[in-house]
């Protein structure tokens, strides 16, 4: 199980890559959203915001009226933020679940893919 610190470190790396990626900034134009993540194994919750094409700091705790809720194991979220996991695979097997519009779900998956296209 990944600890809070591991998740925070992984997210900080993903945030840095995403916020510096010009293509992702274009994709996030006009797309301000609140995304809440929940871990199924450690019962943690944390929230990030996409505001003005930038990912915010990570905030642990519940979210009030998020736009999207992503539920997965802490290990999967950690691997996803590091770019070691293709979240679509876990999604197609039901191990990662989402709540939110199909449009928003596509954008989040785009962010996990495009941030690591140079790999």
């Amino acid at each position: 199980m990944a600890t809070r610190e591991e998740i925070a470190e992984a997210y900080a790396d993903w945030r840095g890559r995403s916020n510096a990626n010009e293509r992702l900034k274009k994709m996030a134009r006009g797309w301000d959203r609140v995304i809440h993540f929940r871990t199924t194994d450690t019962a943690e919750g944390f929230t990030v915001e996409v505001r003005d094409q930038q990912l915010s700091d990570l905030a642990f705790g519940p979210a009030d009226r998020p736009d999207v809720i992503v539920t997965a194991t802490s290990e999967d979220l950690c691997d996803m933020f590091w770019g070691d996991l293709n979240p679509s695979e876990r999604y197609m097997t039901g191990e990662i679940t989402l709540a939110g519009s199909q449009h928003d779900v596509m954008r989040i998956d785009a962010m996990t893919m495009v941030a690591f296209l140079d790999r």
Partner: protein, 473 residues
């Protein structure tokens, strides 16, 4: 089933779920299917076939309700088929099923294009220009990530239904003629004709289940299930009225045209009615194109992302739209629509769509049965009662309807729809058996060659050893 939807800032309510489910089923092709259905039964009794088909649609509702409850996700079709059967069979069926979306988009483009050409009193070839323009607009809008708001979708669907009902009722009232054989579908017709009418009747309801792909965005999980049920009831009422009006007001020649709904409008309100139904036909395209493009392109994108299709199909443009599937879908639909326009083969299109939809309903019945046996302890918010009997009945009945629909076009034997379904199935199976292993192997090799970025966890400090007791001073 989780209740995440209730806490979302934006979530779909029951009203939008009903309009989505109804709107996806009530495409422009609906009018042609209704016109094709009425010739198989006597007089004004087609509503009986629509009713029988409605009961079968309720059966399908049960299966999709149980499956959606188990897998409330847009990827449900992949999930439940994968778990119920061999993955290769599941993929083959899923790819073949996607053909339906191409057919429906092509059909709508053709019907709306033809209706507009007719409404403007233009030569038949102008329909090809309208078809191309409509699909170009749909592709362009999708590539730009234009979304149809839920409210607009509701308005479009309810307007279409209301206008259709108004035209049908007005036409019937103005005819001043008694109904002919409203309760005798077999008068002068064989049981085979009724079976074919029921197969086409099932097609009138088909695609109502596509709303299950919205499972992740509804406010309450049961909205999908309830929305589908209400949609089936609405479709029964409206389609019964449409078939009744068509059989009562239109000649055999008018029923065989590519735009019987315009003739219906003219029978009710003269030239103004023709224009109303032309506008209604164009409005149906809003839901069909929106729902069809999103469903199909997302399915292709997701399948490519999981490594079952070439990676280039998962490429996104700057608006996060999978542009390759959108372009492929648009161009394929254009080719099909133009072929139909040139060959006047729209009835083949209707029969093929009916066969494919009946097939997927048989598959849904099979999956529900197998998953009860394989995953009996999985949470099922909705369970089909008497599944042992109803599930087997679903497989047999929908399988038979698929076969009947695939060998009959316009009240005559014609195996062309069967050939089309067979070709789609063979192409899908060929890809899965011969191409997919290479695609997956390439993806596995690519990942193996990509080093992990996540830093390894620091090794835990060694556990302290046993403490030695010191001797005396």
């Amino acid at each position: 089933m989780s209740d995440d939807g209730a806490s979302l800032r934006r979530a779909l309510g029951l009203r939008t779920t009903v309009s989505t489910s109804t709107g996806l089923a009530f495409a422009a092709l609906e009018y042609l299917a209704a016109a094709a259905l009425v010739v198989y039964v006597a007089g004004d009794s087609a509503w009986i076939a629509v009713g029988v088909a409605g009961l079968l649609a309720l059966l399908a509702w049960g299966f999709f309700g149980e499956l959606n409850g188990m897998f409330p996700t847009a990827a449900a079709i992949r999930l439940y088929m994968q778990r119920a059967m061999d993955d290769r069979a599941a993929l083959t069926i899923a790819f073949t099923y996607m053909t339906t979306i191409v057919l429906v988009i092509a059909a709508d483009a053709f019907i709306v294009g033809s209706a507009l050409a007719r409404a403007f009193d233009e030569p038949a070839w102008v329909a090809g220009v309208w078809i191309s323009a409509l699909l170009a607009v749909a592709v362009g809008a999708n590539l730009r990530g234009v979304q149809v708001a839920g409210g607009l979708q509701d308005l479009a669907t309810y307007l279409v239904l209301a206008a259709t009902v108004a035209v049908c009722v007005t036409g019937l009232v103005r005819s001043h003629r008694a109904l002919r054989f409203p309760l005798e579908p077999l008068h002068g017709h064989g049981i085979g004709g009724l079976a074919e009418a029921v197969a086409l009747g099932v097609f009138l309801y088909s695609a109502f289940e596509w709303v299950t792909t919205s499972a992740e965005e509804v406010r309450r999980p049961h909205h999908i299930h309830r929305g589908m049920l209400i949609a089936v009831a609405v479709l029964f009422a409206v389609c019964s009225l449409v078939t009744l009006a068509m059989s009562h007001l239109l000649t055999h020649r008018q029923l065989g045209t590519a735009f019987p709904q315009l003739e219906l409008g003219r029978a009710a309100f003269g030239q103004a009615g023709l224009w109303v139904m032309a506008a209604v036909s164009a409005l149906t395209a809003l839901n069909t194109f929106n729902g069809g493009f999103i469903t199909a392109s997302r399915f292709v994108y997701g399948t490519a992302r999981e490594g079952s299709l070439p990676r280039r199909l998962a490429q996104l443009n700057d608006r996060a739209v999978p542009w390759v599937p959108v372009l492929a879908l648009g161009s394929t639909s254009l080719v099909v629509a133009l072929v139909v326009a040139v060959t006047h083969g729209w009835q083949v299109l209707v029969a093929t769509g009916a066969a494919l939809e009946a097939m997927i309903y048989a598959v849904a019945a099979l999956c529900t049965l197998r998953l009860r046996a394989r995953e009996p302890d999985r949470q099922r918010p909705f369970r089909v009662r008497g599944l042992r009997v109803l599930g087997v009945a679903g497989v047999v009945v929908f399988g038979a309807l698929a076969l009947v629909a695939s060998v009959s076009v316009g009240d005559r034997f014609d195996p062309v729809p069967l050939a089309i379904v067979a070709v789609a199935g063979v192409l899908s199976a060929s890809y899965v058996i011969w191409v997919l292993p290479g695609v997956r192997a390439a993806e596995v090799a690519r990942r193996a060659a990509t080093p992990r970025r996540r830093p390894p966890r620091p090794a835990a400090p060694p556990a302290p050893g046993p403490v030695e007791e010191s001797g005396g001073p």
